[in-house]
Amino acid sequence: MAFEQDFARHRRRARRVFAAVSVVLAVLFLLTAEASNFFKITQVTLADGSRAERWVIGAGLPRLGEYIAKTIPDLGWATLGGDIATWFARWQIWAVLLLETILIAFMATVLGVIGGFILSFPASRNLAPNRWILWLSRRYLEIARTVPELVFALIFVFCFGIGPMAGVLAIGLHTAGALGKLYSEANENIDMRPLDGVKAAGGSWSDMIRYGAVPQVLPNVLSYTLLRFEINVRASSIIGYVGAGGLGQEFRTAMSYQEYTDLSALFVIILVTVTVIDRLSEMLRHRVIGLEARA
């Protein structure tokens, strides 16, 4: 009997919690929907030329189809080679910009890894030499990863002028913030005994990090770094939109000249590049993990 009463009470409570959470979520949904014009009614022109009132999503969806349709090039079986040549007519420019995109991602990853790695140690609760340094390095990493690359890029384009330099700095800074956080979480899970050993032998703080901590976190660091490189290739392919170098500037050109098929060509290039890098780095990661497991 006691059990059944207990069970019933339990059920009632679970149901009450469920209802409360549902109401909160529904209110949140309505608020955000209102703020984002989700329920807006707009005027649209129908096929016969008359005007009508329509829900904004219903009215807009067909235009998405229209837009995609516009970007699809005319490809015929008989003239496939020629059609593709027309589609990728600007390939020479794109090849150079693609290389620039990958180099930006690479440089930014290198800078970000160095910055994030060095800062991850003072930003780890168990390793920071004191509370002030912990606080400072954590806040710095937080700012670096909270501000989107595009915002940094805008600022750096203003400071250093249009070009890949601004992109490298922008993505590098954001990467340092994001990786620094990941690295420091890995740091906080290490075994502290080896560090005690180094300290007891007369090692300095940096010796404790170099000999006690780094060997323990290195596999994690490598794996996060490769993952980050993929993310940075995506970031660097769009950052040119604000003038910070790479393929992104071609998106802007294509849109302003209404070269819709160029957009799909660029999309294909980025898709292929990211996929290839994704696969390569996955292979590398597995190799690294494999090496770890065997050694």
Binding site: A201, G202, Y211
Partner: protein, 271 residues
């Protein structure tokens, strides 16, 4: 070389309301082999960590000859830690680094920032490390990862690391508590050889009474942070032991765990 005395006077350390070490006053003369016994939580580890300055005392002073150890800072503090090497129950090696590098960690106190970050050591240092490993019969394992060695081997690597520090005092915190009897004997014999042949003062925490009786010239018993007994093994009568470990004391530890009857392997002298 002058051979200073290590003096603790009124040494204390509290953690919150716990008095881990409470007003300990004693002198350790050069060349002694001192065993510290007492039940778990008595403050043995804290005492050793205070001496090595891994933790700071909340009361009292440590002096070594004319040096006020408790006042040391920065580079001088690191040199003090080098001079009183420490061996841990869990070895505290860097398992992912090879044995040789683990031993060379003992040389870091004298290294500059860049050489140390690049893991660069001189040939003389490497020779010294190999010699220390050879003395502990581990030279063939020099390039193996430390984590792949057995517990007994790891503890001997830790002793080699301590040796290349060229210490004056060697502190060992229950160095044989996680080893089997054979390995425990080897480690204790290594400490004895370091004490007798190299003249290094040894201060070792032990959890077994018979080991303390076998190896130590002097035994200090701790209880609730205080040095409760200080004398020769002979003076450590059953009555005293009962006081140290409480009424259930004599069943609390197993005299056979580190039986000294196993034949000790001979240690080679350093050239």
């Amino acid at each position: 070389m002058d051979r200073p005395v290590l003096s603790l006077s009124g040494l204390g350390r509290t953690f919150g309301t716990t008095r881990a070490v409470d007003a300990v006053t004693l002198d350790i003369r050069p060349g002694e082999f001192v065993g510290v016994i007492g039940r778990s939580g008595a403050g043995k580890s804290t005492l050793l960590r205070l001496i090595n300055r891994l933790i700071d005392p909340t009361a009292g002073r440590i002096t070594f000859g004319d040096t006020d150890v408790t006042a040391l800072r920065g580079r001088e503090l690191r040199h003090w830690r080098r001079d009183c090497a420490m061996i841990f129950q869990q070895f505290n090696l860097v398992e992912r680094l090879d044995v040789l590098t683990n031993v060379l960690v003992g040389r870091l106190a004298d290294h500059g920032f860049l050489a140390s970050m690049a893991m660069r050591f001189t040939d003389a240092e490497r020779t010294m490390a190999i010699r220390a490993l050879d003395r502990l019969e581990l030279a063939p394992q020099a390039l193996q990862r430390a984590g792949t060695l057995s517990g007994g081997q790891q503890q001997r690597v830790a002793i080699a690391r301590a040796l290349v520090q060229s210490p004056r005092i060697m502190l060992a915190d229950e160095p044989i508590a996680s080893l089997d009897p054979g390995n425990a004997t080897r480690v204790m014999e290594a400490l004895r050889s370091i004490n007798r042949d190299d003249g290094i003062t040894v201060l070792v925490n032990l959890h077994t009474l018979d080991t303390a009786r076998t190896y130590c010239s002097r035994i200090i018993a701790m209880r609730d942070g205080r040095a409760f007994f200080d004398g020769t093994p002979r003076q450590l009568t059953n009555d005293v032991v009962r006081d140290i470990y409480g009424t259930d004391g004599l069943t609390g530890f197993d005299e056979a765990v580190t039986s000294t009857r196993a034949r000790p392997p001979r240690l080679r002298e350093t050239a």
